[in-house]
Symmetry: C2
Subunit: 341 residues, 2 copies
């Protein structure tokens, strides 16, 4: 028994006035007499009227929802970003439509299509791991719908972006390990087709060469999951090539490595020091607490959304793409520093 929603027409009929008058009264138009305005407001409340934003958007050729495409919501970092996005959007009267790509390129393309079909006012994207071609994203640009990347941008595609200073943060993290007296530093890297993975590795290499340390190939492998990190540590121990520190591409990787080390009876950080990346919830809680780089996900979401809204409102019409770099903060906890007793 779904009751048909109350419309402006209903109010008009009720008061025996025209729909346009009602519309004006509701919009607080100064040309309306105080008493009709009063009446309209009362009847609106009485009938439980709700403006149909969809119809309004159709009429005004502008929508009040922004689309978001992320790899996976269940990642703490991304859920933080979404929180930031949601907050800004909410305060500006926008709603958020979220699509997950599950790190699949074709699904991402589908998401783009869906969001455009829904007439979103703008799109925020963090590209999937798999994404190589960017046809679907170029399509967004061509359609005229503002596009802002966050965290993971599409290289070569000119667009606003909010990213981390991955290279520098990785550099600082590695340097920190050097300063703590480590010299046999390994790196468990992320996928190298992803800019963030590449940049972090570069930062790592930069720090090593800066310290005059030559790269040992077997210490720099791709391992960006809990399981891979676990088996990678096991492999290193079997080969006898044991590092005295590991800089990991993310926190989960770090925890996988820690688990292996614990089972091998190696003390952390005395035997092997660890630094992760992301500052997930568990980094504070792990045993020992994990040193890591805080990416400020919430802040990134806020910045990205503000940037997007600027474009939507054409405040910066025609201006070239902006890149906002959010500095990652190295948080030194106990996996990388020998604490004095």
């Amino acid at each position: 028994m779904s009751t048909a929603p109350v419309t402006i027409k209903d109010i008009a009929r009720y008061l025996k006035i025209s729909p346009s008058t009602v519309s004006r009264a509701l919009k607080d138009n100064p040309e309306i007499s105080r008493e009709t305005k009063q009446q309209v407001l009362e009847v609106a409340a009485l009938l439980d009227y709700r403006p149909n934003i969809v119809a309004r958007g159709l009429k005004n050729r502008q929508s009040s929802t922004i689309g978001v495409i992320i790899p996976e919501i269940v990642h703490y970092f991304f859920s933080q970003v979404i929180s930031g996005i949601e907050e800004v959007a909410y305060n500006e009267g926008y709603t958020v439509m979220i699509c997950q790509s599950n790190d699949k390129s074709d699904r991402e393309a589908n998401n783009v299509r869906t969001l455009l079909a829904h007439q979103v006012a703008g799109i925020l994207v963090s590209v999937s791991k798999e994404t190589a071609g960017f046809k679907h994203l170029e399509e967004v640009k061509r359609s005229g719908v503002p596009l802002v990347f966050f965290d993971r941008a599409a290289p070569g595609l000119m667009a606003d972006q909010v990213i981390n200073d991955n290279r520098d943060a990785a550099f600082r993290a590695t340097t920190h390990l050097l300063e703590e007296g480590h010299s046999r530093i390994a790196h468990f890297a992320g996928p190298q087709n992803l800019t963030i993975g590449k940049e972090r590795k570069e930062g790592y290499l930069l720090a090593l060469t800066g310290a005059g340390i030559a790269l040992r190939e077997e210490w720099c492998t791709e391992a960006d999951t809990f399981e891979k990190a676990y088996s990678e540590v096991m492999r290193l121990y079997q080969s006898g090539n044991i590092p005295d520190a590991i800089f990991c591409n993310n926190d989960l990787t770090a925890l996988g490595a820690m688990k292996a080390l614990r089972e091998l009876g190696t003390e952390i950080p005395e035997g092997v020091a660890i630094v992760g990346f992301s500052n997930g919830i568990f980094s504070e809680i792990s045993e020992p607490p994990l040193s890591t780089v805080d990416q400020h996900g919430y802040e990134m979401g806020v910045q990205a959304t503000r940037l997007l809204l600027k474009r939507i409102n054409s405040v910066n019409k025609g201006e070239p793409p902006v890149t906002i770099v959010v500095r990652g903060d190295l948080i030194v906890r106990e996996t990388s520093r020998i604490m004095p007793d």
Copy 2:
């Protein structure tokens, strides 16, 4: 330079035919000649036409988006649920509009208003901790928009819901602790104005009385955050009333307790055993790995969305509200079982 989107009219003009013909051709209407259909499809592809779902929804008085209101996205459990919701919705051609209440009642009411204004086809809600009155939710029911609760329902409001068997799961968790030989079992409870908090406490009490153990008030306190659990353990140790096991309302609480115990030099589970609730990512990774109850968030999201879609499509029109109970699985890891060496 936002190009105006290509519409059916544009295609019609291009082919010098009427918009209705184009509309029919795009919908694969059998009354259209094969060649015009062919032409329309070609031109549509050429001009990069995208159907305006919003306009279509307005015309058909039905939308293809469903609204979700959750306390906080950053909670692992909720992000899992959203993943499940998203998956089903996506496959059925729906998009998802997500609002966070931040556990605030007024914000939740706002979310309801927003979603209804956006003409969502249905709403999924997990009520905020703060919510006491349910006027805004009753409004949803009155509006005729289908409503399904997940995890946290509004007591007294007849509606479909997908919930956990909190009481039973808590009973089983506590019983497990009893079977492991513990008898001085404490409970760090959740807010008692929330059904889930109350039910879990009831399950705990049931298990105790079933075993002929009297409740000790000082062992059953409200502590549902990492910090509160930490200080609660400290308090218990100072008072000298030390339990030999703690059943916690959630995982974070469990980890807070574990941290305190570690600092106090108490072995887990030998000194004090721990069981949490939720099976968050860190429960597998904690040291030692945490025994907990898996709530199957993803599955709950899937079920809730299926239920909602049924209502939206009036498959079960007029049928009384359905309650789907998702059984929580006790996962015994190392914080509650003395492992043989």
